[in-house]
């Protein structure tokens, strides 16, 4: 039985102001006009205000002498250098604390996340307590706590707390042994680089071979030997060119070693422990997200426990873990700007803080600072999107 459908007549004519398409264009134009008008007004006001306060806008101030010192710098810097150099010093300090923080937070976070899933009731509860406590206290509170209450109340250099006679804690910071590169240290570094490149190439080759012929290869141990073993062999062969200089107490202070500023240590501890609590939750959720059936199926196929974890559970868990994990890395980087509260010379403290108050170039400086963080965020999320598309489960 067939139903005849009458062909619809031409749609009834409607007035232009009732036509959804016309309306859409109209609303959008109104919004755009509003935004542009706001921007125009802002620009006019900014010009008038700057003229009134006799501030010359522009980025010329980056070439003027800064005239203040910075207590930690990865590149040579002194008071006669320019504001542009200050910016670079601050940026590198931000990247330093963020980089080390990410490594520490990831390690601690994975350990705690896995511990939370432990069949041992007590240790799982302990990890859970850590996560709840740390997550529910403001980060700035924790930074100030570490800085003022823990590191600030340490004894003076002469009564330093010593850890195995190698590391010293006092109220001026943490003093650790400094690596000293001697003759031939370059070979060790070169060997390490070579090992990493060889490992990557090997991995590529092994994958292709296994895809083609199905023959497995002990990839992990070979890579370990290349990355760790090769530099070690070179280290021994060249007669240990890298040594550690121990800090020593002379008079009222330490000589030798590297002194980590208390501001740096407090910020690093707070950032790492805080972010680790969030990473732990992500890791736990990721592992729980792999259905039990996957493990059971792998065991039923005859895979061993280790292989089940490595080939079945971890790859699927990582797919869930990595996107929010990157988010946490970004958060950590952005949160490192709290350095300004304790006076660690990061980008915000030396550039948006000291430089701004000395030059008064608020618009340029805040715009540059925001642009730096924005660039880091956008680049990371672009990489993330690419990665997500890359590892997405191919469905049908």
């Amino acid at each position: 039985m067939s139903v005849q459908i009458e062909r619809a007549a031409a749609p009834p004519r409607v007035a232009a102001y009732n036509n959804p398409k016309v309306r859409a264009v109209f609303y959008q134009l109104v919004l755009l006009a509003l935004v542009l008008w706001f921007g125009y007004e802002f620009a006019l006001n900014a010009k008038a205000n700057l003229d009134a306060q006799r501030i010359t806008s522009g980025f010329g101030f980056l070439d003027t002498t800064a005239g203040f010192s910075v207590n930690q710098s990865l590149i040579p810097y002194n008071e006669t250098d320019t504001y542009g150099r200050v910016f670079l010093v601050g940026l590198l300090n931000t990247l330093l604390v963020a980089g080390i923080g990410i490594v520490l937070a990831t390690t601690l976070g994975f350990i705690i996340g896995i511990t939370r899933l432990s069949p041992n009731w007590l240790i799982a509860r302990l990890a859970g307590g850590y996560v709840e406590l740390i997550r529910n206290l403001p980060l700035l509170f924790q930074i100030l706590f570490w800085y003022l209450a823990v590191l600030g109340t340490l004894p003076g250099p002469r009564q330093s707390i010593s850890i195995f006679g190698e590391i010293f804690l006092n109220n001026r910071g943490v003093i650790v042994p400094a690596p000293v590169a001697g003759e031939g240290a370059g070979y060790v570094v070169a060997a390490f680089a070579l090992g990493v490149i060889a490992a990557i190439a090997l991995r590529f080759w092994v994958r292709r071979r296994q895809d083609r012929t199905g023959q497995p290869f002990p990839l992990f141990w070979t890579c370990l030997a290349l990355v760790v073993g090769l530099p070690l062999v070179v280290l021994v062969a060249t007669g240990f060119p890298i040594s550690f200089q121990k800090p020593e107490l002379r008079g009222f202070n330490f000589v030798g070693g590297i002194r980590l500023l208390p501001e740096f240590v407090a910020l690093l501890i707070a950032l790492a422990t805080y972010t680790a609590a969030f990473i732990a939750e992500i890791v736990r959720a990721g592992i729980l997200a792999v259905p039990r059936g996957q493990t059971e199926a792998a065991l039923a196929l005859g895979l061993r426990r280790g292989a089940t974890l490595r080939l079945i559970v971890v790859p699927q868990a990582l797919r869930v873990i990595i996107p929010p994990l990157t988010n946490q890395y970004l958060n950590l980087t952005k949160n490192s700007s709290l350095a300004v509260a304790v006076g660690y010379p990061d980008l915000v403290a030396v550039f948006a803080g000291t430089t701004l108050s000395q030059t008064g170039q608020a618009i340029e400086i805040i715009a540059i600072t925001m642009a730096v963080y924005l660039a880091i965020s956008l680049i990371t999320s672009a990489l993330m999107n690419w990665y997500n598309a890359h590892i997405r489960v191919a469905e049908r």
């Binding site: 009731w121 700035l140 965020s377």
Partner: protein, 378 residues
């Protein structure tokens, strides 16, 4: 292919261990002392827990000094024993921690605002209490206006109180509440904008959201404090607290938008199509059909944003607005209370407040989540 033949099991599988008994002891044995490794783990964790909990308890209660009037009462030499928390320090600074420099004679206004807020908030949070619509209108519509005039004054014979005098927990709560109240509707609008089919609206929403999410809150506060005044006419005198509030609202709205977007994406297409088939326009479709479902789905996410907003209010101390943490830091530098335990006492006090509020919110989110799940499981 012969060597790749399938595996055939020839021996019997080993019998499984007997099931765990019912008693507490049996369960403890299975969960804590099951094998050498597990027993060692249990002992280590027990040691850690004792090493953390006992000194904390001792510090906060057993060794604490409860009465006194100056730093002398909290010194070990005066007390003659090891000294824990110095609670007189908190008593002496309590008014500052709660109200900042809000005039003593006017503090009842702050308390009244708190009481009003609580009376309206508590029934809103308990699902069984009826009249949610009226309650919500009162809490989100009337209460902010009443609270604003109560706190700022200048009407009905209430003396005006400069926001510069506000401080302590009052600032923390005002910023959190304002942030929460404005960021949710603004975030919902931005989320709709990002999901819109109109290209200009979508692009502008995306730019707005990604910009605020890409920068740290501190730079936003610097922006609000130092840069914003340049963009406004010189005749506009914007209050320092209001500037910070604008920054916080814009910042948290961007995060809220992403949470709401998650909810919108979870609504099946059929819901949109059904609403359209019924002849609803865009705003009615969103307001009556889509958003109520989407927001319900993401209540836990929304509460999590509220928690981070609450924690982030501490950052205002960097632009010289003294919230609870800011007042705490200022109190540390008072030489009248300089003792070895002052710092720890102060951090313990503020920590307990921050923890209770954040933890309470996260438990509430969990409660709502469970409730929603049971409703859906039915």
């Amino acid at each position: 292919m012969a060597e790749q033949s399938s595996y055939v099991r020839r021996a019997l599988a080993e019998p499984q261990p007997p099931p765990v008994g019912e008693g507490v002891l049996a369960r403890m044995r299975a969960r804590l002392f099951d094998g050498v490794f597990n027993t060692v783990l249990t002992i280590i964790s027990a040691a850690i827990i004792i090493a953390l909990v006992w000194p904390t308890f001792k510090f906060l209660i057993l060794d604490a000094v409860w009465k006194g009037s100056s730093r002398v009462d909290c010194l070990p030499e005066t007390v003659g024993r090891q000294v824990g928390a110095c609670w007189p320090f908190i008593q002496a600074k309590f008014i500052q921690f709660m109200y900042g420099f809000y005039p003593d004679s006017e503090q009842w206004r702050v308390n009244l605002t708190y009481v009003l807020g609580l009376i309206l908030l508590v029934p809103l949070l308990i699902p069984r209490v009826p009249g949610k619509r009226l309650n919500a209108i009162l809490f989100f519509g009337v209460f902010p206006v009443v609270g604003f005039f109560l706190l700022v004054g200048g009407v009905l014979g209430l003396p005006h109180v400069e926001t510069g005098l506000w401080g302590g927990l009052l600032i923390t709560l005002v910023i959190s509440f304002t942030g929460i109240m404005f960021s949710l509707p603004l975030g919902a609008l931005l989320a709709l904008g990002r999901r819109s089919e109109l290209p200009i609206i979508r692009t502008l929403s995306i730019i707005f959201i990604e910009f605020w999410r890409g920068v740290p809150l501190i730079t936003v506060l610097f922006f609000a404090t130092y840069m914003l005044p340049f963009f406004l006419p010189a005749s506009w005198e914007i209050d320092a607290l209001a500037r910070v509030l604008i920054g916080v609202v814009l910042f948290s709205a961007a995060y809220m938008a992403e949470v709401v977007r998650g909810g919108l994406q979870a609504i099946p297409r059929g819901q949109f199509e059904g609403a359209m088939a019924l002849g609803l326009g865009y705003w009615r479709m969103m307001g009556l059909v889509v958003l109520p479902q989407a927001l319900r789905l993401v209540i836990p996410g929304i509460v999590n944003s509220f928690i981070s907003l609450f924690k982030d209010t501490t950052l205002v101390l960097i632009v010289a607005i003294f919230d609870l943490l800011g007042q705490l830091r200022a109190a540390f530098s008072d030489p009248n209370w300089a003792t070895p335990v002052t710092l720890f006492t102060g951090f313990a006090f503020a920590g307990i407040i921050y923890f209770l509020v954040s933890f309470g919110m996260s438990r509430y989110a969990l409660f709502v989540e469970r409730r929603l799940n049971t409703e859906q499981a039915r």
